[in-house]
């Protein structure tokens, strides 16, 4: 699978600000194919797990109302050189994970 995650993390005053974008269609199941009128089945991310230095710091549970190619930003305590890992799981069982060093 192509890379689906982009993560940027930087530290100021002991707080790490993480910004990430996940490439994902996030289909709600309500959209239709214009030509055929068929509904596009739902396909969305259900869970995102964030860890810092292999320790879980946040779990996000998402519904269908999150935008396509979801953007996620948050703040956690930490310092430069920490490793931030983000993993996601969608309703079809697809999953991906990526890490970034805090700058």
């Amino acid at each position: 699978m192509a890379r689906t995650l982009k993560i940027r993390a930087y530290e100021t005053d002991g707080q790490v600000i993480v910004k990430s974008v996940i490439n994902h269609p996030m289909e709600t199941g309500r959209r239709k194919v214009k030509k055929t009128g068929k509904k596009i089945p739902p396909h969305f991310i259900k869970e995102v797990i964030v860890s810092r230095n292999r320790r879980i710091v946040m779990e996000a549970f998402w519904g269908k109302s999150i935008s396509r190619n979801p953007f996620l930003s948050f703040q956690i305590p930490g310092r430069k050189g920490d490793t931030i890992t983000i993993s996601w799981l969608d309703n079809r069982g697809n999953t991906d994970s990526a890490s970034a060093k805090v700058r």
Binding site: E47, V57, E59, A60, F61, W62, S65, P70, F71, Q75
Partner: protein
């Protein structure tokens, strides 16, 4: 609580690559996400609908959203020991939108959401075991948005 500590400990032993599937600490609150009415969703997620309002929760979102499919929302909790932040979009078919569980000293999350119509955004914060809520109205522009 013990189970969580155990799971966290086992994760620290270095199984980051195996985070998925199935090592999530808590279960996906499916019923809350399926609920069509806000009280039902709140009952499923928190076991109560009786939540006090608090201005310590800051919700930053545009007054008028130009693209209903990408409404940026920034949520900041003014409470210490914030345990979770949840977002409910009153006008959507399934109002319960996102549930963030926070395990360290965190109080800020931001994401982008879809809004079916002009409506209220409700944020529910759990801090020190107590639930707080605040809301913010967002108008969805129809003229200049990419309705697809």
């Amino acid at each position: 609580m013990k189970r969580r500590t155990l799971l966290k400990a086992s994760l620290q032993l270095g199984v980051t690559g195996l985070l998925f599937p199935g090592i999530a600490i808590s279960a996906y609150p499916k019923k809350a996400f399926l609920a069509k009415e806000i009280p039902d969703a709140l009952r499923e997620a928190f076991g109560t609908t009786d939540i006090g309002e608090s201005s310590k929760i800051e919700i930053d979102a545009p007054h008028i959203a130009s693209d209903a499919n990408m409404v940026p929302v920034r949520i900041k909790s003014g409470f210490e020991n914030t345990e979770s932040i949840s977002l409910v979009v009153a006008g959507n078919e399934s109002p319960f939108t996102a549930y963030f569980k926070l395990y360290e000293a965190q109080n800020f999350v931001s994401t982008r959401i879809r809004m079916a119509d002009t409506s209220d955004l409700l944020v529910i914060v759990k801090a020190d075991g107590v639930l707080h809520t605040n809301k913010r109205s967002v108008r969805v522009g129809r003229n200049n948005c990419g309705e697809s």
